[in-house]
């Protein structure tokens, strides 16, 4: 399941719902992304996440379908927020449920890597020097590349820096 929303989400309830009633699930892997108060050694007051409604949902669904094709998953969940978020706030939740932990972990990392390089979100950071659009990271492209090529035309490697995540 995928959701794109402005509001926060209930981590415990979402994770519990993922395996509720399915006793074939032996492991759930989860990633939660949070707003940090620093970027490239500069303080961040807040950030605003812009996205491309319609395409965002389509891409997340495609990414999720790809994970389900590649690993024996019982359930998956991606929730991605948009709008203005302050340090400490949750941005994204990615969760995968499988009989075994290896599939759950791999699929979760895959989803995060692909989401970071394919889902149409952009971060505008509020710094003391002014608002600044975050540039894509070569390290994210590299992380996504280890999973091989998607069937859909991917975003590729023309990115600016290899700084922090």
């Amino acid at each position: 399941m995928i959701r794109v929303q402005r509001e926060d989400f209930d981590v415990g309830a979402e994770i519990a719902a993922l395996s509720a009633g399915n006793h074939a699930v032996g492991g759930v892997a989860v990633f939660i992304g949070l707003v940090r108060d620093m970027a490239d050694e500069e303080a961040i007051g807040a950030m605003t996440l812009e996205h491309y409604p319609g395409m965002t949902e389509a891409m997340l669904e495609r990414i999720e379908a790809e994970a389900t094709d590649r690993w024996p998953l019982k359930a998956t969940l991606i929730i991605h927020r948009f709008g203005r978020l302050e340090p400490g706030e949750r941005i994204v939740l990615v969760a995968t449920a499988s009989a075994h932990r290896q599939a759950a972990f791999e699929a979760c990392e895959f989803l995060v890597d692909w989401l970071k390089t394919k889902a149409p979100f952009w971060k505008l950071e509020e710094k003391s020097s002014g608002a600044e659009w975050v540039t894509a990271k070569a390290s994210d492209d590299k992380a996504a590349a280890r999973w091989g090529t998607p069937d859909s035309a991917p975003q590729d490697s023309t990115t600016d820096s290899d700084a922090a995540e």
């Binding site: 491309y52 970071k116 952009w122 659009w133 894509a136 990271k137 023309t158």
Partner: protein, 83 residues
Amino acid sequence: MKLLYFAWLKTRTGVAEEDVTPPPEVATVAELLAWLQTRGPGYAEALADLSALRVAVNQEYAVPSDPVGPSDEVALFPPVTGG
């Protein structure tokens, strides 16, 4: 043709969304971008570095040789930074 701009593409063009009618010889993504660059200084600046640009046609990532037509939704944006 419907055009959408996101992130700094929107800031630099000053436009979030617009309906345009390119000349009939504009048939591909590459030709559309070349035509857009001629539409004023904001566009010229926003589209100066095509390698920093991503294009989606009807919400699918597109390459320069992909066709575009009057009924398409074309989005221009920088490499994504979500997650």
